[in-house]
Symmetry: C2
Subunit: 199 residues, 2 copies
């Protein structure tokens, strides 16, 4: 095996690239039309295949404060979801529960304002549980299965071991660790930093 | 040994109470007089003996944004220090290095505005390195020495192991872990939560 290929094989077995997710919003088709007058349009592809950063932006308005110019991610979903950090929650005056994406039952609501209209969400505000997107080809290499939680060592400026990191395996995924901004800052994350799933 | 005393002895050997430090400012006597027209006055004692939250508050003004109504901690120090999270740094437009308290060499500056005047700091902005204040009586019980770094397991809603936690031993200290707000939120800290120094 060539050195480059060997290095890549070792890296792929040991390390997972990490990414930090800033606050962002998912909306339904109908909500996009209410907020913007049209469906979401793609500004830039994201690392997860098919996902994109939209040109459209919203204000997220809570009882205590608001964030303007918040990223909207496409494509549209069946139900809206607002992913913020616990730090963001303090600013908004909302205490987001830590949840896996899509688990919106019992989460608090919030108000979204687009350039064409406003949407009041009854629920959907959460801090995303830290997770690892895993492509099925990588799952046996990393020794993980769908819905498992693992411990993740970060190789970052302020190293930590994150526990309860949720593994999600799906053929549409590129293998990546996703942290929220509190977690990214707590470990001193910089783009390109790697993590390692601990046995 | 009575059960209560035994329990306390075991707890004291295994666990350390944690606290989260929000953004705050330390100033000199002269700076207090410039900012407020008088020296700092105590609103409330803090867990570390002799330290207090001042009645006085400042705005911290960076190139990109500002925070109003920021806590000032007393007593006054020989040099000013502005302790913020990396998240705060993004809002201010300042990238704070992660430093032990007092290590202000080479740190960025910022502007402070009080109700009576303004102070431009040439340096002093940092994210405080996570640390454990240890009373000398507790150091041998916890098996730590001054300036050592340790790994700390958090017993929190989002458990993590923090690495590179700086131990500081001093007779003026009450034994406590201090995290910044990014770290506190990354581990889902709530007041009263405990940590354990790992061997």
């Amino acid at each position: 095996m060539e050195l480059a290929a060997l290095t890549e094989a070792v890296m792929r077995r040991l390390f997972v690239e990490m990414e930090a997710s800033g606050r962002h919003v998912h909306v339904t088709q109908q909500q996009a039309i209410t907020l913007f007058g049209h469906r979401l349009t793609s500004k830039r592809e994201l690392s997860q295949p098919g996902q994109f950063l939209a040109n459209e932006r919203v204000s997220v308005i809570g009882p205590k404060g608001e964030f303007q110019n918040v990223a909207v991610l496409g494509p549209e979903r069946k139900e809206a979801q607002v992913e913020i950090s616990l730090t963001d929650g303090r600013v908004l005056g909302i205490a987001p529960p830590v949840r896996p994406s899509g688990h919106v039952e019992g989460t608090p609501g919030v108000c979204l304002q687009g350039e064409r209209g406003k949407v009041v969400l009854e629920r959907g505000v959460m801090a995303a549980q830290r997770h690892i997107h895993v492509h099925p080809d990588d799952a046996p290499i990393l020794g993980v299965t769908d819905k498992q939680t693992v411990r993740l060592q970060t190789y970052t400026a302020r190293p930590v071991v994150f526990e309860d990191v949720l593994v999600r395996v799906d053929p549409t995924f590129q293998t990546r660790v996703h942290l929220d901004i509190d977690e990214a800052n707590a470990c001193g994350f910089r783009p390109g930093d790697l993590g390692r799933i601990l046995p």
